[in-house]
Symmetry: C2
Subunit: 356 residues, 2 copies
Amino acid sequence: MEKKITVLPGDGIGPEVVASAVRVLQVIGKRFNHTFHLSYATIGGAAIDQHNNPLPDETIELCASGDAILLGAVGGPKWDNNPPELRPEKGLLRIRKHFDLFANLRPVKAFPSLLDASPLKREVAENVDLMIVRELTGGVYFGEPRMRTENGAIDTTVYSTAEIERIVENAFELARLRGGKLCSVDKANVLETSRLWREVVEAKKKDYPDVQVEHNLVDSVAMKLITNPSHYDVVVTENMFGDILSDEASVITGSLGVLPSASIRGDNFGLYEPVHGSAPELAGQGVANPAATILSVAMMLQYSFGLKEEAAEIERAVNSVFEDGYFTADLTRDGARTMTTNEWTDKVINEIDTSF
Amino acid sequence: MEKKITVLPGDGIGPEVVASAVRVLQVIGKRFNHTFHLSYATIGGAAIDQHNNPLPDETIELCASGDAILLGAVGGPKWDNNPPELRPEKGLLRIRKHFDLFANLRPVKAFPSLLDASPLKREVAENVDLMIVRELTGGVYFGEPRMRTENGAIDTTVYSTAEIERIVENAFELARLRGGKLCSVDKANVLETSRLWREVVEAKKKDYPDVQVEHNLVDSVAMKLITNPSHYDVVVTENMFGDILSDEASVITGSLGVLPSASIRGDNFGLYEPVHGSAPELAGQGVANPAATILSVAMMLQYSFGLKEEAAEIERAVNSVFEDGYFTADLTRDGARTMTTNEWTDKVINEIDTSF
Ligand SMILES: CC(C)[C@H](C(=O)O)[C@@H](O)C(=O)O
Ligand SMILES: CC(C)[C@H](C(=O)O)[C@@H](O)C(=O)O
């Protein structure tokens, strides 16, 4: 297989974790006989510095000519006081919208060897294996009007039935491939968009008799994600609720540093990035945890290229390195050796190599 | 002191926990020489059944003639398929709005004897003592337009500068009386209302040089509330974020059954209710945990009547009963005896009586 991947290292630790993930990708290519062509472009703060634009046209064009995007992270204190249009995260919001990447998939799965780092009791966190499906291009993130008024300000949550249908279908399909359970999250006791959301889920469920569906209110899910996270399989929700709940869910497993994400749109194109941010305070020291970005590459192989075996091999290697007790500084516990970003990546690569 | 309290038992376990709380209130009255006049009215499902209205005019009038409101809980499956205007929670939303109860205070404090029931590790939860201040009468809960459109639906988040100012002031005052720290939560990287919110906090903080202020994004707070909840003192946020974060925070301590709330407006009038819902599946069995409602009475004594010593006495008694190992069924652990609602209330009352 031959694929073109656009790499957007971004800011802070972005370039470092992306470099690690690219090394792993190339090893997978070699082992399984695929050719991955990489082209690099700027986004976020780096793009503002070079082009005065958090998402330059060159970047959009390069991404459009490729099969998938690998992103590091954007943002940092340097750009914190910029006007809204010249802030790094605007690049992220615009690339999602430009490529219509409406489905953000965030798997949360416990690595047994990391559970000591979880704020939750082991018995609460240990069997967690859920996927949050967040609508990513609608809702209050993009709804108009959004502005100052004479005496205040307003934002608007907008959803068309079609926008809800496509994300809900996506979630049903995922539930069918996973544990067969779908939890749809809304605030139907207050919001009109939520009542429409619930109706759409109710209508769609007739096409998926094999999927068990529940509706739950966002406040209630915010509790249950912590008290009983293993209850969940696929959780689908709108953009703003998804932002909050997916970040909340990310703490279950004990490290944000190991969580990948995919932003897809129904064909094979997609953007893959770690859940964590650019951690400017760690940048340039070679200490960042590259696991989340490496696992994002696994998601790319699976969702954009249909390479399931290759994706599984990366996951196996990462898990095995954790099981062997190797950690970057964010995860190190008493007695364990701390590895640099590159040392840890070497371990993963060795694990892949030696398993021929 | 002589005070008039309107009691709205509501649905499910509401009447049972309210009955317990009223018994405790009367004992406090006797011990400290106050007279509390109680009048009862309907709200929620009970009011729909009797008056076809979740908040009848009689209820509003009675509440208006009193000094404070004690509410149980509303809702249940019986009314789940009613049209929006005839649903129990509409009574709740309307009473908040009618009396302009714009500040919802939700303290979350660890009872050491309950930490085994927390999903969090003991060392994460044990020093938690925070207060969420949620704006309760604005934002997307009440903003217009909220409706179906030709091809979808919309909701509107509306905040006036004045609405933000009053809740933020309230939170600053509370921070000053507590640990001197205020975390303001918004989504200023996306929302216009959040940018205004942040500006108001920045402007107000000049009046409170003794309070240490931080701004934090809602997604980030959703994580940190679980990874490091003892970081927080007072947390202030808008209505929808507050709904989600306060429910999330409610799981830290190990039981929703012990968390009180106050909804106030700046003068002495206020509405006091447990954080938990009506738990219809437990209703009528005498097993509900009355602690949250009893502690809501303590908040009433403190915030509406300025009776700090009396409030502290209730808190001391509740804590002491927990320390002695007495629990209702929701909290019982191996070896501990399970008490009924009434038995547990008796313990609290004894504790108050014998401490003369
Ligand atoms: C940076 C921000 C705009 C973004 C979002 O809210 O979508 C981030 O929190 C995320 O979840 O990817
Ligand atoms: C019942 C519902 C409308 C209400 C709310 O969202 O405000 C409840 O969740 C609460 O927090 O009191």
